[in-house]
Symmetry: C2
């Protein structure tokens, strides 16, 4: 018995060691080893955080931080495995599928009920962080022009819906009034952020060329984003109905999953085409997809759509969070200028969104959770920073290296603090029906 167990342990060890040496394989086989390693560590990390009653997504992010920073321990090669661009597509698919699942758990009618609250939350959540960001940067780096202050402010506007959505999903609270307000606001937020980026970039380009702002170009961007969301909401239901009706004619297996993925990927791509993040399209796809539309197909295949999507999410979504964690460069903590600017920007980012709680006046909404749910900044903030780093004004990039590193740190900190804070706050939030919830205030069993 003991020798058999020894043999088993040895074999497992050999496989693990072999996996860790994965950097020496061919491209495709190496990617397989990398995915195996990411999945295994994501589950291990998730387990550690689950036991500490913290959200599992934080465990997946931590697994990523560990893998991404093994270079610091002299273990080279492992971090570079994550730079494979093919993994980026898997991660993209993972976050797109997550937002589709999140969208499927909400529906348009309930979203419309919190529409006004979401709009108010988004407006405050864009304006205040922008003002605070401008002020903080003007105070700490007074030698840069107002263009840079404005750009840094703009970086702080857009909420990263991925992290927040995952926490709401893990706690089964997506279809709560709070979940709807936060997710709705995060989507509107993305549109606002886009408009702000267009205006600020236009101002900088105008200043550099000595001409004014290109008003027409700004208006086109704004128009495209609004037209996309409007069209998706107005016509998405009808489009999905005709898609599923056409699909139900097909006699092959797996039609429901294929049709849903085609619809989701098509809307993600369309969102990207009008300048929005693909995940906004995926969320819109989930939102407009109504169970009534695909009920017939689900009955025929004897498997609900959610059960078919969840294994896809379980393989691909951890890849997104592990890769996000791996972006964190622990060595950037070493510079004091970067650290102080990062701390100030993080404070601005967090406090700016807390004012959202004040305007989230909708029945059953847990206002503290709204403010906390709006904290994370993610890919959109990083895209803004990269845009600023490529914009030249008077021979200097609008976002210099120090500001860039500080922004990356801000993104990382806001991303890491949100899951535990939001999860703590949501567990304290009332879980009952909207009307009486505010009075009850009972804690859920955790």
């Amino acid at each position: 018995m003991t020798s058999a167990r020894l043999a088993r342990t040895a074999i497992t060890g050999v496989i693990l060691i072999a996996l860790c040496g994965g950097a020496s394989g061919g491209v495709d086989a190496r990617a397989l080893a990398t995915i195996a390693l990411m999945l295994g560590l994501a589950k291990l990390g998730g387990d550690v955080f689950e036991r500490a009653k913290l959200p599992t997504v934080l465990g997946e992010l931590s697994a990523g931080i560990v893998i991404g920073n093994l270079d610091l321990l002299g273990l080279r090669g492992l971090g570079s495995m994550l730079n494979d661009p093919s993994l980026a597509l898997l991660a993209e698919l993972g976050v797109v599928l997550l937002l589709l699942q999140v969208g499927l758990e909400s529906n348009l009618r309930d979203m419309a009920r919190v529409g006004l609250a979401a709009f108010a939350v988004a407006s405050v959540g864009v304006a205040l962080p922008m003002g605070l960001g401008y002020g903080v940067h003007a105070l700490l780096v007074p030698d840069r022009t107002w263009h840079t202050h404005l750009f840094v402010g703009a970086v702080l506007t857009a909420t990263s819906v991925g992290i927040t959505a995952r926490v709401f999903k893990d706690l089964g609270k997506i279809d709560s009034p709070t979940g709807r307000v936060v997710l709705g606001a995060a989507v509107i937020d993305d549109v606002f952020g886009l408009i702000v980026l267009a205006v600020v970039s236009g101002l900088v380009r105008g200043a550099e060329s000595g001409q004014g702002v290109d008003v027409v170009a700004v208006l086109v961007i704004v128009g495209k984003a609004i037209a996309f969301l409007g069209t998706a909401i107005a016509l998405g239901g009808a489009a999905s109905r005709s898609l599923y009706r056409a699909a139900s004619v097909l006699r092959v297996r797996g039609v429901l999953l294929a049709a849903s993925l085609v619809f989701c990927f098509a809307l993600s791509w369309l969102a990207y085409q009008v300048g929005l993040a693909p995940i906004v399209g995926a969320f819109a796809a989930g939102l407009v997809l109504d169970e009534v539309v695909y009920q017939d197909l689900a009955t025929r295949e004897n498997r609900p759509l959610e059960h078919q999507l969840s294994p896809l999410g379980e393989l691909l979504t951890p890849i997104f969070f592990v890769l996000t964690g791996a972006q964190v460069d622990l060595s950037s903590f070493a510079d004091l200028d970067t650290l102080s600017l990062a701390a100030a920007l993080t404070a601005a980012a967090v406090l700016g969104k807390q004012a959202c709680a004040l305007v989230a006046r909708s029945p059953g909404v847990h206002r503290l959770s709204v403010g906390l749910g709006m904290i994370p900044r993610g890919e959109v903030g990083l895209i803004f920073a990269a845009t600023g780093a490529n914009l030249i004004l008077a021979g200097m990039p609008v976002i210099g290296p120090t500001a860039y590193a500080a922004i990356v740190l801000m993104v990382m900190i806001t991303t890491m603090v949100t899951p535990p804070l939001l999860s703590w706050s949501l567990r304290r939030a009332p879980g009952g029906p909207p009307r009486v919830a505010d009075v009850m205030g009972g804690a859920e069993p955790s």
Copy 2:
């Protein structure tokens, strides 16, 4: 009503047109559009072939041929969308998952029962096509040396298990004696093919350098391959038991799927490390994984492993077959030298494997189906050809451009003819229990 339907059709049309213009998007969003297009066309193609009572996999291959050859119709851009290397990883995952599913449907004990028959089939299926390939090439291209003839012969040895496995799977015949013999032989085949490639490459390199064959190097390759399969079969069960025991301690969701994928990807990577195709490792993983080992986890998660794997396969496997179909360049049909060599090689490839039927003497085995199931040559043949194209002997590549194009055509034809032939033959084969099956000979309802 009519106007509403018109609006729906228009929207669907716009989405389809937008998808077809996908070449203009960013990298990630473009890949999403490409995947949506591939999935949609794969299902459409599958439906057409399903209605014609042909295997759906042929529809997916045909969808690929259409997309890959749209350039011929002046529709540029679409074919190039498929060259995204990230899609290659998705395809690789797709075929790895297919072989894992196929392996799970078989088990070691039943495989061992047909082991001798599979070994005999594999031996004949390597020796005869090799001899025929040598003869055909020596006859048609007499001005090349015996090294090239031998190499072309070697290209014809390895069976592509992907196509055959898919047809057996679609017809629910993987766990039949015939299925076991063919799949077992295809795996042994791959090992034999590898040995042949090593020996032939060694002979060519020896001839070029004027030295003899590097016997040690050849023996090392052979030893590694045999050691991998032997170890996987001998210790895989114990390794998987300890992996699942460790995994069952984890408190997070999706542990069963994650552990199974980690085991599968790890074995695929190990197979690649010893010089075998990753899919051989995936098949071995499925083969040694016993339901008893993961029953506890499946019960805890209330979802069988097969149900969790099938959505993954439904998204990823069609990508493999569509990409395989897209490799087919219809314009290469235009050259007569290529065509005649391709025809002769295809005949050698097909006839050489039919002799396998003669040695497949195991109870309940449908011998015609064994011969037909061994026909397809796939990635391994193409890898051999690419190796030959890169080997230089007396200033010329061992495999020249004409031979290479003819080999690609041979791969394509053998791949395309197998599904309808095998599916026709399997529907005629007895479906009853092994012992009495040969006598009964009753046809299944198709």
